[in-house]
Symmetry: C2
Subunit: 317 residues, 2 copies
Amino acid sequence: MADVATLVEQARQGRPRAVARLITLVENAAPELREVMAALAPYSGRAYTVGLTGSPGVGKSTSTSALVSAYRRQGRRVGVLAVDPSSPFSGGALLGDRVRMQEHATDPEVFIRSMATRGHLGGLAWAAPQALRVLDGAGCDVILVETVGVGQSEVEIAAQADTSVVLLAPGMGDGIQAAKAGILEIGDVFVVNKADRDGADATARELNHMLGLGESRQAGDWRPPIVKTVAARGEGLDELVDSLEKHRAWLAETGELAARRRRRAAQEVEAITLAALRARIGDLRGDRHLDALAGRVAAGELDPYAAADRLVAELTS
Amino acid sequence: MADVATLVEQARQGRPRAVARLITLVENAAPELREVMAALAPYSGRAYTVGLTGSPGVGKSTSTSALVSAYRRQGRRVGVLAVDPSSPFSGGALLGDRVRMQEHATDPEVFIRSMATRGHLGGLAWAAPQALRVLDGAGCDVILVETVGVGQSEVEIAAQADTSVVLLAPGMGDGIQAAKAGILEIGDVFVVNKADRDGADATARELNHMLGLGESRQAGDWRPPIVKTVAARGEGLDELVDSLEKHRAWLAETGELAARRRRRAAQEVEAITLAALRARIGDLRGDRHLDALAGRVAAGELDPYAAADRLVAELTS
């Protein structure tokens, strides 16, 4: 394998293979990541990141692809990261069926990557941000982060973007139900896709009502727009890009962009810190110390808090 | 509120309100938990825990309810814990629609509890085991842990049981797909429910093939049985209970029961340890130290690993 410095340099030049290999390092939680992230740090924070989330069937892939086209018409370099946090298996399977992305597959200014985030808890909290750092370092102007489902992990990922787009489609009452389960709160921009279908206006009205968009807001507050699109025909995409640019401008003007990025960095640092501490517990476990404590807990001789107290004391002294 | 010692004593006597209040303490990650778990430790490890998982529509609730009936016919005290790890909201909503559990609602020897596991990462790893400790302490002979979906978190919960039951139904190709996504590995006992429908034999055969059950195994290895049930009519339930008892006996004979419980205790202790360490990072954050580091990371002056190194050094020195 090429050394890390070379890979990072090639990724910086926008070489797709190098970008792909760096993201594989992220996916594998490779020890080289430390060096990769150190090399990329000076080039971070340039890309504008947009998260896309919504129930299955609302047309997320189609919308993502249409957004890529819209940004490409503006000459932007675009990254796409499709994250599947619910899949316990890594692999390219996800990308296999992303037929709608095919049209961008040969465009050297578009980087598309699927990422399954293995089994380990907390992995997501650092994996997605680090993949974003790679795409950012590769000179992407815009990075679209598409999540596969609408579970809690997916919402957390989408909420890590500069701007979060929540997609709905008409005639999907369960779309609204899913929205209720935590995704309305994170939406900066709402999209009613498949707006040529019956019920699109009703969905937009219902959404408008649920969001309380009719109510008065403080001057300077962001009022999430609802954009109607037919992504499969590219309709409404310019308006969506326009809404995204407005939100980006609002973020920058109000200082919210910097604040969001600081919060994101704090979460990322915390997650790496916890992973490092966990590895130290693992070292203790290697000493069979955790095993011995666990044996006593399983036997009812010790409660799990008392056992944890001992580990914390050993780690922090 | 009654003091913890009184609550634990009442729960030990099987008083439903006390059991419910202790599980609420678990759900809320209340500070009193430390005392509760210390008081319960000597009474842990008596209950036999069975995890039930499977795609929506396979009849998990109905099967759980039918299993409760089967165990009640044997005079056992039964606990049911329905866990919804994907819901970001806590609350009793889940229980509201569990109509099929109604028949057990007035049985003083049955404890039924739904638990939504808030937002925080790692919460699940300790919340479900601690709720099990409460039900165990309350003298349940058997505890059924039913998970709502088939995501990774659900599979992790089901895998924490002594015995994991994976449910499928005929005519649900996606059931098999879901099974492929990680749940076949954890199944100790498989159930083809709705076995009066067309395709039940085909589903059982397909499952048999996927599990490689036709292949020879080492003597002493567990061979997961496939049990056909019509849970709504109680058919096949005695056979299922019989399979569970056989697995339980196998676990005990081979020492695997103790090994599984030690592994589970190790995970639980590790999760509590990480939560405690995380709280310490939070204290540092209160000092605005993490914030300052995050600001430098967001500005590209520091990479996230270098920032994490500093936090680890401060926590562990």
